[in-house]
C-alpha cells in the first residue's frame, strides 16, 4: 500500500501520465484552490490539533497500520497547501508548520490520497473532538483536482457517460422500457394480478421512483422487489423514461457543475410529472447527492419531498400498508449501514425497524449505525480500478465485522456497498448472501 503513496503513484489518474513533467498548470491549480476556500474549510484547516484520535476510526488505517492512512495525515496533504499561502508561520517558515508550496509532487500526492485512500465516509469526522469534516475537505480537494484533469479515469468516465446519456451506464431508452415491461409481466405473475403495473411517466402520480442503472442492467429483480412492495402498499407511483437515474458520481469527483446538471435533471422531471415526492432507490450516495446536496448545488429548495426507499418502506410497515412475515427470512441476517445514508443522512432507525419485523434473527454489527465502518466501496472507489487492491484490503475491517455476527445474510441499502460486499464475500470467503434491504422485505411480504 505504501508504494502507492509516492509521487509516482497516480498512474491511474487521468491526465497525469507519469509523475514528472505532467504539464500541470500550477497557476491554475492555485486559482482553483483559492476558489475552494470557504469559511467551513478555513475553520477545518485551522481546527485540527493533530491529537490523533481519528487514527483508528479509519478503515484504511486499521487495515494497514500505515501512519500515512491516518485521517489527519491525509487531510494535511490538503491543509499544508493552505498553510503555505494563508498561515502566517506557513508563509515565513513553512517547515515549522508543515506547509508546502503547490507543486506537481504535492498535487499528485494529494490526488492519490483523496481519490485512492479516502472514501469520504466521515467516520473520522463524527469521532473528531473538533468536528473537522474530512469528507468535506476531501471533496473540495477532489473538485480542484477534477478541474485540473486529475480525476481517475473510471470515475471521470462514469460522470461523462451520465452527462452524455442521462444515466451512468449509457442504457438506451428502448432497453430501459423493454426491461421494465418484462418486469411488469414478472410482477403480474408473482402477485397473481394482471392489473399490477410498473407505471411509466404517469403525470400527477404521488411519487416518482428512481433507479440505479445497475438495477435494469444487472439486478432487475431488485426493481421487481420494489415494485412488489409498492403494489402491496397500494402506492400511486411512477417511473420516468425521461430521467430515472438515482446516481450522481459528480458527488465523488467533486465537480459541482456536473453535479448540478445531474441533480437538475431529476428535479425538473419531478416537477414535470407533478409528483409530491421523489423516492430514491437503495443507493447511498444517490440519496445523499439528491436529498441533501442537490438543493445546495441548485441553490434552491425542492418543491417536493425527497426520501430514501428505506424510509418509505419503514412508513409502509408502521402504517400497516404492508404486512410482513419474519419467518420467511429465517436465516441470521445483519445490516450494513451505507455511510451516505447513515452518517450523512441520518437514516439509522428505519432499516432496523424494518428488519426486526421482516427477519426472524436480525443481528447487529459492532459498531453500527452512525459509527458503522465503511465497507470500502464509498467515494466512487468501485469505479477507480487502479485502487482496487487497496479497496479490498481496507475492506477487511468490514469483513471481520460481518464474520463476527455469524450472519448468513447481509442486507444493505446501497449498490456500491452491495458490489463491494460481494467482492469482500468472495475475497475473504465469508460465505454469506448479500442483498438489498427491499429484497428482504419483498420476501417477507404477506399479500
Amino acid at each position: 500500500m505504501s508504494s502507492r503513496l509516492s509521487v509516482a503513484a497516480p498512474s491511474g489518474v487521468s491526465g497525469a501520465e507519469g509523475a514528472a513533467g505532467t504539464g500541470l498548470d500550477l497557476a491554475r491549480a492555485r486559482e482553483l484552490f483559492e476558489k475552494k476556500i470557504t469559511r467551513q474549510l478555513v475553520t477545518y484547516f485551522h481546527a485540527c490539533a493533530h491529537c490523533g484520535l481519528c487514527n483508528d476510526t479509519c478503515h484504511y488505517y486499521l487495515a494497514t497500520g500505515d501512519p500515512r492512512m491516518v485521517p489527519a495525515y491525509k487531510a494535511d496533504r490538503f491543509r499544508r497547501v493552505y498553510k503555505r499561502y494563508h498561515d502566517w508561520l506557513g508563509r515565513l517558515v513553512p517547515r515549522w508548520v508543515g506547509a508546502e508550496e503547490l507543486s506537481e509532487a504535492v498535487i499528485l500526492e494529494l490526488a492519490d490520497n483523496v481519490f485512492g485512500a479516502c472514501t469520504m465516509c466521515r467516520r473520522c469526522t463524527v469521532n473528531c473532538p473538533m468536528g473537522v469534516d474530512m469528507g468535506l475537505l476531501a471533496r473540495a480537494a477532489r473538485g480542484m483536482l477534477d478541474a485540473l484533469g486529475l480525476t481517475p479515469r473510471g470515475l471521470k468516465a462514469t460522470v461523462d457517460v451520465h452527462l452524455q446519456t442521462r444515466n451512468n451506464m449509457g442504457i438506451s431508452g428502448e432497453d430501459f422500457v423493454d426491461t421494465i415491461e418484462w418486469l411488469e409481466e414478472q410482477l403480474q405473475d408473482e402477485v397473481g394480478d394482471s392489473r399490477a403495473r410498473i407505471p411509466l411517466n404517469k403525470k400527477g402520480a404521488r411519487m416518482l421512483y428512481t433507479l440505479n442503472p445497475r438495477e435494469p442492467k444487472y439486478f432487475p429483480l431488485t426493481i421487481l422487489a420494489a415494485a412488489k412492495i409498492m403494489y402491496a402498499a397500494g402506492e400511486d407511483w411512477t417511473l420516468s423514461t425521461n430521467y430515472w437515474d438515482v446516481t450522481n458520481y459528480a458527488l465523488f469527483s467533486g465537480n459541482d457543475e456536473a453535479a448540478r446538471t445531474i441533480a437538475g435533471w431529476l428535479r425538473d422531471e419531478a416537477v414535470n410529472l407533478g409528483v409530491q415526492e421523489v423516492v430514491m432507490a437503495e443507493c447511498g450516495h444517490g440519496y445523499r447527492a439528491f436529498r441533501w446536496e442537490g438543493p445546495n448545488w441548485l441553490k434552491a429548495s425542492y418543491p417536493f419531498r425527497v426520501r430514501g426507499f428505506v424510509e418509505l418502506m419503514a412508513e409502509y410497515v408502521r402504517d400497516g400498508r404492508i404486512r410482513l412475515d419474519p419467518a420467511r427470512n429465517d436465516k441470521p441476517i445483519t445490516y450494513h449501514d451505507p455511510c451516505n445514508q447513515a452518517r450523512s443522512g441520518g437514516i439509522v432507525q428505519e432499516p432496523r425497524y424494518i428488519l426486526h419485523r421482516a427477519a426472524a434473527d436480525f443481528r447487529e454489527m459492532n459498531p453500527h449505525g452512525v459509527q458503522n465502518f465503511c465497507c470500502g466501496g464509498g467515494g466512487g472507489m468501485l469505479s477507480m480500478t487502479e485502487f482496487a487492491e487497496r479497496r479490498i484490503r481496507a475492506g477487511k475491517v468490514k469483513a471481520d465485522q460481518i464474520r463476527a455476527t455469524g450472519a448468513e445474510v447481509v442486507a444493505t441499502s446501497c449498490h456500491n456497498c452491495l458490489d463491494q460486499l460481494m467482492e469482500l464475500n468472495k475475497h475473504y470467503k465469508l460465505g454469506v448472501k448479500i442483498c438489498n434491504l427491499c429484497e428482504v422485505v419483498a420476501e417477507a411480504l404477506v399479500l
Binding site: T38, R39, G52, P67, P129, M130
Partner: protein, 206 residues
C-alpha cells in the same frame, strides 16, 4: 522588574494578541459560507447544542469512549491551562490571591494539567502514527504549554523567580499562540456550529 512583567508587558502582549486574533477572524469571516437549502430532517439547534456539549460527554463519542484516558488527559490539561490563564489575570490585580486557600486547589489543577501535558508530549514523540501528523510547531506548542503549566505551579506557590518566568513566558505565548496551532481553540466554536448545524439538520447528531 516583576511588576513591569506582570503589568505593562502583559498589556502590550495582550494588545498584540487581540490584534492578531482580530486579523484571523477578519480573514475567516471574509470567506463565503455554505448555505444549506435542503429541507431539514432533524434540528440544527439540537445539533449545535449536542456539538458544544459533546466535550463534556465522553461517552457520546466512540473515539473518546474507547480512549477515555485520552479524554481525561485532554480535560486535565485544559482545566490546568484555564486555571493558569485565570491566575495570570488575578495575580497582578487581586491582592492576596496567592494566600487565598482556594489557590491550593488551583496549584493541584495546574500540576495535573502539567502531568497530562507531559503524557501527551511523550505520546507525540513515541508513537509513529502521532509523529506522522506532527510538525515542529506541534511539538513546540505542546512543550511550551507544558513549560507554561510547570512555571504556573511555581508562580501559584508565590516564588519570586517562578512568577517572573511565568509572566515572561505568558507574554511570549500571547504573541506566539495566535500564529501557532494552539490557536485551534479560536476555531473551535465555529467548527462546532458548522458541524452541529450540518449534522443536526440531517438528524445525524441530536
Amino acid at each position: 522588574m516583576l511588576s513591569i512583567v506582570e503589568n505593562e508587558v502583559q498589556i502590550v502582549a495582550l494588545t498584540l494578541f487581540a490584534l492578531l486574533y482580530a486579523l484571523k477572524l477578519r480573514w475567516l469571516l471574509s470567506r463565503p459560507t455554505v448555505r444549506d437549502f435542503a429541507h431539514a430532517r432533524g434540528n440544527e439547534l439540537a445539533g449545535v447544542t449536542a456539538a458544544f456539549s459533546i466535550m463534556f460527554r465522553p461517552w457520546a463519542m466512540l473515539s473518546t469512549r474507547q480512549h477515555w484516558p485520552r479524554w481525561l488527559e485532554f480535560g486535565l490539561m485544559h482545566v490546568g491551562i484555564g486555571t493558569a490563564i485565570t491566575y495570570s489575570f488575578l495575580i497582578p490585580y487581586v491582592d492576596g490571591i496567592l494566600k487565598w486557600p482556594g489557590t491550593r486547589l488551583a496549584v493541584v489543577a495546574v500540576a495535573l494539567g502539567f502531568g497530562a501535558g507531559v503524557v501527551r508530549l511523550a505520546r507525540r514523540v513515541s508513537r509513529a502514527d502521532v509523529r506522522a501528523i506532527s510538525s515542529p510547531d506541534d511539538y513546540f506548542s505542546l512543550a511550551v504549554v507544558d513549560l507554561f503549566l510547570l512555571l504556573g505551579i511555581f508562580a501559584l506557590l508565590d516564588l519570586y523567580w517562578g512568577r517572573l518566568l511565568f509572566f515572561s513566558l505568558t507574554a511570549l505565548l500571547l504573541v506566539y499562540v495566535p500564529t501557532s496551532k494552539i490557536s485551534h481553540y479560536l476555531y473551535w466554536p465555529f467548527a462546532r456550529v458548522f458541524y452541529g448545524a450540518y449534522f443536526g439538520r440531517r438528524a445525524v447528531v441530536q
